[in-house]
C-alpha cells in the first residue's frame, strides 16, 4: 500500500515543517530580546501594573487591558515575523505550537501563552508588580511567582532576595544564575529604581549598577 516515494515526500515535508517552526521560534527569540519590544512591553506594564491585585476575583478592567495587550504586543510580533518571513501565517504557527510545546524553552512559551491565556497574562502582571515593589525596598526578587502573597522582605526566603547594595559591591562575576536572569529581564527597572533607592538611603549620593 505504501509507495516509498510518497513516504519520502511525507517525511521530507514534515521535517520542512519542523525546520520552519524552529526558524519562527528563532525569530521570536530575536524579536522579544530586541530593545524595541522590551521598551514597548515595559511601557505597557508600567501603565497598568498597579491595576492588578493578587485576588482570585478579576476586575472587569483586566479584560480591557488584556485586549489592549494582545492588540499591541501580539500584533507587533506578528508584524515583525511577517517582515522576516513573508509567508508567515499566525494560524499555522499556533497549530504547530501545540505539537511542539514541549520543545520550546520556558520563557518563550510563557510569553506566547500570555497572548491567549488570561490567567498567564494576569500572573505576568502580578509578578511584575512584586518585582517593582521589592526593588523599591532595595531587593532583587528572583522568584516573584513564589512570593506573590508576601508583602514584607522578612517573610520571604533569603534565597529569593538579593540586596541591591550587595549587587552593587559584588560585580557580575559573583551573581547567581537567577540574579543574572533577573537583571537581564529587568535591566531598565533596575537602573531607574536603583538610583531612587540609593538616593533615598544615601541621602542623594548614589552608585549605579554596572551595565
Amino acid at each position: 500500500m505504501e509507495d516509498p516515494e510518497v513516504e519520502n515526500l511525507a517525511l521530507s515535508s514534515s521535517s520542512d515543517v519542523d525546520a520552519e517552526f524552529d526558524a519562527v521560534i528563532g525569530h521570536i527569540e530575536d524579536i522579544i530580546m530586541d530593545e524595541e519590544f522590551q521598551v514597548l512591553q515595559r511601557h505597557f506594564m508600567d501603565k497598568y501594573y498597579l491595576e492588578f491585585e493578587n485576588t482570585e476575583e478579576n476586575k472587569l478592567s483586566y479584560t480591557q487591558i488584556f485586549q489592549e495587550y494582545v492588540d499591541l504586543l501580539e500584533k507587533y510580533i506578528e508584524k515583525q515575523l511577517i517582515e522576516r518571513i513573508p509567508s508567515f501565517n499566525m494560524v499555522t504557527f499556533i497549530t504547530s505550537l501545540q505539537q511542539h510545546k514541549d520543545e520550546i524553552s520556558g520563557d518563550i512559551f510563557d510569553m506566547l501563552l500570555t497572548f491567549t491565556d488570561f490567567l498567564a497574562f494576569k500572573e505576568m502582571f502580578l509578578d511584575y508588580r512584586m518585582v517593582l515593589l521589592y526593588l523599591e525596598w532595595g531587593y532583587i526578587l528572583t522568584n516573584p511567582s513564589q512570593v506573590k502573597k508576601e508583602y514584607s522582605p522578612e517573610s520571604v526566603p533569603a534565597s529569593f532576595l538579593t540586596e541591591l547594595k550587595v549587587i552593587d559591591q559584588r560585580g557580575y562575576k559573583e551573581f547567581t544564575l537567577e540574579e543574572l536572569s533577573f537583571i537581564g529581564k529587568h535591566q531598565q527597572c533596575l537602573d531607574d529604581l536603583t538610583l531612587t533607592y540609593y538616593m533615598k538611603v544615601n541621602n542623594n549620593s548614589h552608585t549605579i549598577v554596572p551595565s
Binding site: 482570585e56 476575583e57 476586575k59 499566525m90 494560524v91 505550537l97 506566547l112 501563552l113 491565556d117 490567567l119
Partner: protein, 208 residues
C-alpha cells in the same frame, strides 16, 4: 476575527491545562476532557458559593462578585473551566463580552427571591437563551436556594420561566439545589457534562 477565535481556542487548551496544574494540581495530570463554560445569574443567586463548594473550598469569606472569576472545577469525567461573572445590575451589561469561546452555560437563580427579582432573572435567562453566541449551547439551570421556605418548586420554576416553549430546540437541564445539598448540584453538573460530551461527539464526525 475568525482567526483569533481559533488562535485562542488552540492555545487556551494548553494554557488552561498548564495553569490548572500550577494552581490547583494535587496529583498527576489527569486525562479528563476540559470544557469552557460561562456561569451567570443575578447577584445573590449563589454562583460563587456553589462553585467554591464544588472546589471543596470554604465559603466563609464570599462577598458579592464585582468582576469575574475563572475556576477550573473538577468532576469525575471532565474538568469545567468556569468563567463566573458578577450579577449586580451594573455588571450584567458586560456579560456578553465574556460569552466568546464558551461551550455551555450555567445559569443560577434564587428560587426563593422576590417576584420582582424572579422576573428580572427570567428576562436575563431569556436574553441568554436567545443570544447569538449562546443559543446553540447547552444550558444548566440551577434553581438554587431550595432549602429556603419561600423557594418555588421545580414545576413552578419550569412554568414561570417558560422553559418548554421558549427553549424549544435547545438542550437544557433544570436542577433544583442548594448549598446544603451538593449532591444535587453535582448531579446536575454531571448531566450537563454528558450533554457537552454528546455535542463534542456530534461535532467531530468520523471519530469513534
Amino acid at each position: 476575527m475568525g482567526q483569533c477565535l481559533e488562535l485562542s481556542a488552540a492555545l487556551c487548551r494548553i494554557g488552561v491545562y498548564t495553569c490548572f496544574r500550577t494552581l490547583c494540581c494535587k496529583g498527576p495530570p489527569s486525562p479528563r476532557t476540559e470544557y469552557d463554560v460561562v456561569c451567570v445569574g443575578l447577584t445573590g443567586s449563589g454562583k460563587s458559593s456553589l462553585l467554591t463548594q464544588l472546589c471543596c473550598e470554604s465559603t466563609d469569606s464570599i462577598i458579592p462578585t464585582t468582576g469575574f472569576r475563572i475556576k477550573a472545577v473538577p468532576f469525575k469525567n471532565a474538568i469545567l473551566n468556569v468563567k463566573e461573572l458578577g450579577g449586580a445590575d451594573n455588571i450584567r451589561k458586560y456579560w456578553s463580552r465574556y460569552y466568546q469561546g464558551s461551550q455551555g452555560v450555567v445559569f443560577v437563580l434564587d428560587s426563593a427571591s422576590s417576584e420582582e427579582d424572579l422576573e428580572t432573572a427570567r428576562n436575563e435567562l431569556h436574553s441568554a437563551l436567545q443570544h447569538p453566541q449562546l443559543c446553540t449551547l447547552p444550558f444548566l439551570i440551577l434553581a438554587n436556594h431550595q432549602d429556603k421556605p419561600a423557594a418555588r418548586s421545580l414545576q413552578e420554576i419550569k412554568k414561570y420561566f417558560e422553559l418548554e416553549p421558549l427553549a424549544r430546540g435547545q438542550r437544557w437541564i433544570l436542577q433544583p439545589c442548594s448549598v446544603e445539598n451538593m449532591d444535587a448540584v453535582k448531579d446536575g453538573f454531571n448531566q450537563f457534562i454528558n450533554l457537552l460530551e454528546e455535542i463534542d461527539q456530534e461535532n467531530t464526525p468520523g471519530r469513534l
